[in-house]
């Protein structure tokens, strides 16, 4: 029988979103819904399912896991509920005009700050190194160079024109 930490990512993925009982090395047991299994350490992240208690999260280190049993399978609804806890709110679908005006506002702000930016369809390209995709917030920049990324991100964040458009804020 393979140890939990020697299993494949495919095996671990099978448990995500289901209610499980995890047994650990000192015979203790933990129950909860699996949010993820870290592929680096095989650590299991459980979210509590009790309705009347405050939701809690438990991370069980991979090296301590001896057994994982599925108690109840999850549904699309439970997956959605779990995700809403961890992942920032999915941005509401912005209309094409709103996206366009946000893109334009950001492009002008970058140009004002003497940043070489071009529009390439739906994305903004900065100095051929960084891409900003919809909805053009600080978290939507992607770049291979950390220094450029950090500087452009702080510029995007300080864009005075962006505060006027409505957008659901990410919260952590």
């Amino acid at each position: 029988m393979l140890q939990w930490s020697d299993r494949s990512p495919q095996h671990w993925r099978e448990f995500v979103n289901h209610e499980v009982c995890v047994t650990v090395q000192d015979q203790q047991r933990f129950e909860g819904r699996v949010f993820t299994v870290d592929p680096v350490s095989a650590s299991v992240v459980l979210v509590s399912v009790q309705e009347n208690e405050r939701p809690s999260v438990r991370v069980i280190l991979g090296h301590a896991v001896t057994d994982v049993q599925i108690l109840r399978r999850g549904t699309e609804e439970t997956e959605r509920q779990m995700k809403s806890v961890f992942l920032p709110d999915q941005t509401q679908i912005l209309s094409a005009e709103e996206l366009k005006s946000r893109r334009e506002s950001l492009r002008l702000w970058l140009e004002k700050n003497l940043v070489p930016v071009t529009e390439d369809g739906e994305v903004l390209r900065v100095a051929n190194a960084l891409t900003i995709s919809a909805p053009y917030g600080p978290g939507d920049c992607s770049c291979a160079n950390e220094i450029i990324l950090a500087r452009i991100q702080s510029l995007v964040e300080s864009n005075p024109g962006a505060e006027q458009t409505s957008l659901s804020q990410t919260h952590q």
């Binding site: 494949s8 995500v16 680096v40 961890f86």
Partner: protein
């Protein structure tokens, strides 16, 4: 129990010569292409890579959510301590915490070895 105690022992800092990439870490040894991988011989499946990224991203979000929260750490030998979680290293070998409540007093900053831990929990 809030007055911090003086530091008893300084932790070993990160390797100053590299960017944190340690060729002796268990993860490198496990994934290094010259060692035999357990899942498939030869190149790593694209599907497996996709699964790994998905699972890892979720785990990183868990760590993000845990940051600056009061976390209860259950260690071996029925040791339980509470602290404010700061950060983890890339291989999940050490956790940096603040205000670690121990029987000796409150350690202002500490490094917890993940290998000594069974689980850690926090409330949302």
């Amino acid at each position: 129990m809030k007055t911090p105690v003086s530091v008893l022992r300084l932790p070993r800092g990160p390797d100053p010569n590299s960017r944190g990439f340690d060729p002796n870490s268990p993860r490198f040894i496990a994934l290094c292409p010259t060692t035999v991988s357990t899942s498939s011989s030869g190149s790593v499946d694209e599907e497996e890579q996709r699964l790994r990224s998905e699972l890892r991203e979720r785990f990183l979000r868990t760590l993000l959510l845990m940051t600056d929260k009061q976390v209860q750490f259950d260690m071996f030998e029925k040791v339980r301590v509470r602290a404010t979680f700061g950060a983890s290293d890339i291989d999940v070998l050490n956790f940096q915490v603040s205000d670690l409540e121990t029987p000796l007093g409150v350690q202002k900053e500490a490094l917890l070895r993940c290998h000594d831990m069974i689980s850690c929990s926090f409330e949302l």
